[in-house]
Amino acid sequence: MNLVESLFSPDIKQLPNRDGFGEGLLIAGEEDPNVVALSGDLTESTRLDGFAKKFPDRFFEVGVAEQNMMGISAGLAICGKVPFLTSYAVFMPGRNWDQLRVSVCYSKANVKIIGAHAGISVGPDGATHQGLEDMAITRVLPNLVVLAPCDSVEARKATLAAAKHKGPVYIRLAREKTPVFTTDETPFEIGKAQVLREGNALTIIACGPLVYEALKAANELHIDKNISCEVVNCPSIKPLDSHTIITSAKKTNAVITVEEHQITGGLGSAISELLSEEHPVKIKRIGMPDTFGESGQPNELLEKYGMSSNHIKIAVRNLLGK
């Protein structure tokens, strides 16, 4: 699947995937003069600064007013613009879900919603700023595409795909630097999942930066225990790539889902819903265990709340009884 060569090298390049969004938006801005951007007082940290500098007439600072920002974006889109609006996932869609539902999704307004700093790995800022519910509350909205890119390269592709897609798109991004393991040649398409590593004992389906943890776990299980895991990157939470997921589940008959999100309502729920109807298999969901987070270093938090590669390995062995 055209991943980087030294996939498990300790020196693998690390970047926050929001960097990829910033790059993608600049390209989208050059390609389409209708692309505009709105910031809720988080221009630099949501990587809008490049766009704001290059296209000052197409950049709007809205201040700390996420509800208004969503509504303005709907109005801009109805009049032919392609607005990208950014904030942290806890505020958007957290604060402005009603505006997302009615002003944007009900009107199929061509708005691109960027929820940055999603996940527990936000770290020291603590529970209030760790967006762990965003996929649940966006996934339920008709007309909305929900994407969770795994690294900065995929975030760039997701941004460009969102700019071309006609209709609302939500993209969740993370704060921390994480391995850049996909390449320009790795396929990305809205509505598609990719089998990154083939295997037949069990399928690990993951989204966001934890896809790398899943790959690492699969590699170590292969080397240490001769367990062959298939790893599926599922950046398109909605629409879900049911074909790829069902095909893999039929092959392995055991699935583990991995996400930096509450255990309810996100990727694990989406996969469980699909497979329980189409091809029931044993499923174990890895995610935030229905609790709020706390301050700490990202790796400490992933370890404490059970979302590290070690936890994935344990879950695999438990599910297979090995």
Partner: protein
């Protein structure tokens, strides 16, 4: 008779027909809001029959004036006005709120043509109107305007003030916000529920140019909308003082009619009053 008063008389007759359509629609639908549609009938009529640059034959023309209705629940008057203006057949009005209709209980974008945005939950319209005004400014559509129509009680929503602050800051002079100051909301009179006065002072403090009019006086509605076009440095808000349930004596001023359904005989009584323009002209049934 002067040209102006001919215009006014014609608008008055049209508004009366629109009010009758509203009553008939609500009787047919067996639910829906009454007081707001009746009190905003004059503003809608003035906009669609005199002020707006719109074309029923080409409802999506790029340089049209746009209306964003923020308090979506008064949409029966919007549908009725659009029908009388030729955007949809008058016969379609009887489908309001019924399965399969384009005339949803709260408006859905482009259904019917002429509806330029969805609305329902209060407080969302002004932000959308601002987005439209920004887009028009970017596209150099300097002769077109965005009209946001909203209610008085909805400014109890916080989003309205986020939006008001932004529009004032951006000096959105192509935006006119018309507030239906009918003083009522579901639970009672606004000043008893959650006072919004002093409204003018609040809006001025947010850098809006404020006009106050009698929302049933066509000369004032037209003059204020024209006045707004000559204000270059600020967005304009027109506080339209209206009488809830306007045109039907037993409904006027009563918050109870915000969304009440008709009892037997009430609709007929209301229609009879409207046909006679509250006694000013003879009804065809008399």
């Amino acid at each position: 008779m002067s040209e102006q008063s001919n215009l006014t008389l014609n608008l008055e007759k049209t508004a009366d027909e629109i009010r009758q359509s509203v009553i008939k629609m609500l009787v047919e639908a067996k639910s829906g809001h009454v007081a707001g549609p009746l009190d905003m009938a004059d503003v809608f009529t003035a906009l669609y029959f005199h002020i707006l640059n719109i074309d029923p034959e080409n409802p999506l023309k790029a340089d049209r004036d746009r209306v964003m209705l923020s308090n979506g629940h008064i949409c029966p008057v919007w549908y009725a006005t659009l029908a009388h203006r030729g955007f949809l057949p008058l016969s379609e009005l009887s489908t309001l709120r019924k399965l399969g209709t384009r005339l949803q209980g709260h408006p859905h974008i482009y259904e019917p043509p002429g509806i330029d945005a969805s609305a329902g939950p209060l407080g969302q319209g002004l932000s959308q109107a601002i987005g439209m005004a920004l887009a028009y400014r970017m596209d150099g559509l300097n002769h077109a305007r965005i009209y946001c129509l909203g209610s008085d009680a909805e400014i109890q929503e916080g989003q309205i003030w986020e939006a008001a602050m932004f529009a004032g800051n951006k000096r959105l002079n192509n935006l006119t916000w018309i507030i239906d100051r009918n003083n009522i909301q579901i639970d009672g009179f606004t000043e008893n529920i959650m006072p919004i006065e002093p409204l003018r002072d609040k809006l001025e403090a947010f850098n809006w140019y404020v006009l106050e009019i009698d929302g049933h006086n066509f000369d004032e509605i037209i003059a204020s909308c024209n006045h707004a076009k000559a204000i270059y440095e600020r967005p304009t808000v027109i506080i339209a003082h209206t009488i809830a349930g306007k045109g039907v004596d037993f409904m006027e001023y009563k918050f109870e009619w915000h969304s009440k359904t008709f009892k037997p005989g009430e609709a007929e009584k209301a229609l009879d009053e409207l046909r006679t323009l509250q006694g000013k002209i003879a009804s065809e049934h008399q």
